[in-house]
């Protein structure tokens, strides 16, 4: 038996996978990994990750092996240290495998110039799925663990690591793309040509009121000449909705399942991972 314990949570430490599907008609959000590029790259280093990843935002966690040994890899732009049992400290690069033995403690510092980071574990985290997914939806309290992780949470990985050979993957460059080509939203006609011109010609700032549910943007208000209140309809990650204050919200992975604000545009699905990594204060532009 191999066991480790969370000794520092950092911020917003949750379990995520590729998403919880087939339940949105019952009001259950898809959730899942915010920046899918990183776990995809980690999968080359840790092939048997069992789709059970830890996700953190801004500040990374610490975890300590209590029993046995585990093999992990960290993805994201962050500094990674291991405090060995013999009190030496070793720095590791992202996207390399890290062997952790009893007493070793892994600590991940802040994400640099980005938001999300991930840890993959060889043989996973020993979790059972909930509604066909391991992902934590903290708002609906659904998941293998239905809340953010806390200090003292322990994970048991029964299967031993079969190879301690070091693996690595060329680091994923987290591009600082800030201009996004978007698709027309179903209520694009709720906005006049003039407002649409403002949408594509002005700059929007990502505000601090942004999280796994959505990124709230601030810029020149986008006022509808029809209404900011529509009959609720299904929404997907990447939808850009505009409530009555005219400030757009880009919906992310923990979306509410239906929404009653007009959607001016929809982001390309692969851009959701990219925009997720832009910290508050970043200025972005859209192209229709």
């Amino acid at each position: 038996m191999n066991r480790f314990q969370i000794t520092r949570t950092g911020t917003y430490l949750t379990i995520q996978d590729w998403g919880r599907f087939h339940y949105q008609h019952l009001g259950v959000s898809p959730s899942g990994i915010m920046d899918q590029r990183i776990p995809r790259a980690l999968a080359k280093v840790i092939p048997h990750h069992q789709n059970q990843f830890l996700e953190f935002a801004y500040v990374g966690p610490s975890l300590k092996v209590v029993q046995g040994a585990i093999k992990v890899s960290v993805g994201g732009q962050c500094n990674i240290f291991v405090q060995k049992n013999n009190n030496t400290q070793i720095e590791h690069a992202p996207y390399t495998s890290i062997n952790l033995f009893e007493g070793d403690e892994l600590t991940i510092h802040n994400t640099i110039d980005s938001v999300y980071g991930y840890i993959a574990f060889e043989n996973g985290l020993g979790l059972e799925s909930c509604l066909q997914s391991f992902a934590t939806d903290t708002k609906a309290q659904i998941g293998s663990i239905n809340r953010p992780l806390q200090i003292g949470d322990q994970f048991e990985v029964s299967k031993d690591v079969s190879s301690w050979e070091l693996q690595s993957n060329e680091e994923v460059y987290v591009s600082k793309q800030t201009n996004f080509k978007v698709y027309p939203g179903p209520q694009m006609n709720y906005f006049s040509d003039e407002v649409l011109q403002t949408f594509v010609s002005s700059t929007f700032t990502i505000t601090t009121q942004s999280d796994r549910m959505g990124l709230r943007l601030e810029g020149e208000p986008l006022k509808s000449h029809i209404s900011h209140d529509i009959l609720s309809e299904g929404i997907l990650p990447g939808c850009i909705q505009v409530p009555s204050n005219g400030q757009p919200i880009v919906l992310m992975r923990d979306i509410p399942c239906t929404g009653g604000y007009p959607k001016i545009a929809i982001m390309a699905s692969e851009d959701i991972s990219k925009i997720a990594q832009l910290p508050p204060g970043t200025k972005i532009t859209f192209d229709l």
């Binding site: 008609h25 708002k139 239906t258």
Partner: protein
């Protein structure tokens, strides 16, 4: 048919449009098409019905285009009457006493109704379950008696107690869990309506009929203390 057509919804989605109005007839067609889509075994990640739209989500553009062809082909020749699923008629106990009915007096004052009139108007109508959304297991039911139609609260509540019954505009609902929200709260049901323990997951499903039945606080507490499982609720409170 109210169905107007299929459009792309971003690069991985489709949206089926049933116009801009809302009515029980439109919703019946939406839910019949929803049942047809489920039977088609499309490579979809999610199908999300609402008042007058169905949104589908896919993993790839290829899946999306393949599904669009299949939907257009099958919808053209479908007999939607045959895709209607057997739905449950619910008789749901509800307590409208003061401690559970945070906004009942506001409703009474707004419409000049007595407590008994509000209760009798809310319990004498059988409601159609349009769809489930907003949060896990949250049913949009309607339409309520026109003399009860009330806008949402000007300032939404930060915390609505779990299992609360709300009304807003033409609709009534039950909050499955503690949640922020703006519906006017007029009562509470005595059991959970969302459960990970039962394959149904959500007690109410689109197309179900729900009628509430007023119970006393004593009866409410009695039923609540039993912590009924979905199977027991179905057995006791549906027909």
């Amino acid at each position: 048919m109210f169905f107007k057509g299929i459009n792309h919804y971003g690069d991985l989605g489709l949206i089926l449009d049933f116009g801009s109005d809302s009515s029980q007839q439109i919703s019946q067609e939406v839910n019949a098409v929803y049942a047809l889509l489920q039977d088609l075994d499309l490579p979809q990640l999610n199908i999300i019905p609402s008042f007058n739209k169905i949104v589908l989500a896919f993993q790839s553009g290829k899946d999306r285009n393949q599904a669009q062809d299949a939907i257009e082909h099958n919808l053209a020749k479908a007999d939607l009457k045959k895709t209607q699923k057997d739905r449950i008629y619910w008789n749901i106990p509800a307590c409208y006493e003061d401690s559970y009915a945070l906004d009942r007096e506001l409703i009474q004052a707004t419409h000049g109704l007595s407590k008994e009139e509000v209760i009798s108007k809310h319990t004498s109508t059988s409601y159609y379950a349009y769809y489930i959304g907003f949060m896990p297991g949250f049913p949009y039911l309607g339409d309520i008696d026109s003399s009860l139609i009330t806008p949402r609260l000007a300032t939404p509540r930060i915390q609505i107690p779990a299992r609360s019954i709300g009304i807003a505009k033409e609709h009534t609902c039950v909050y499955p869990k503690v949640s922020p929200g703006g519906w006017n709260i007029i009562g509470q049901v005595p059991f959970d309506i969302f459960s990970l323990e039962h394959s149904r997951t959500s007690l109410f499903l689109p197309g179900d009929t729900v009628q509430f039945q007023s119970i006393s606080e004593k009866e409410f507490l009695q039923i609540h203390s039993k912590h009924l499982a979905f199977d027991e609720i179905i057995k006791e409170f549906s027909k």
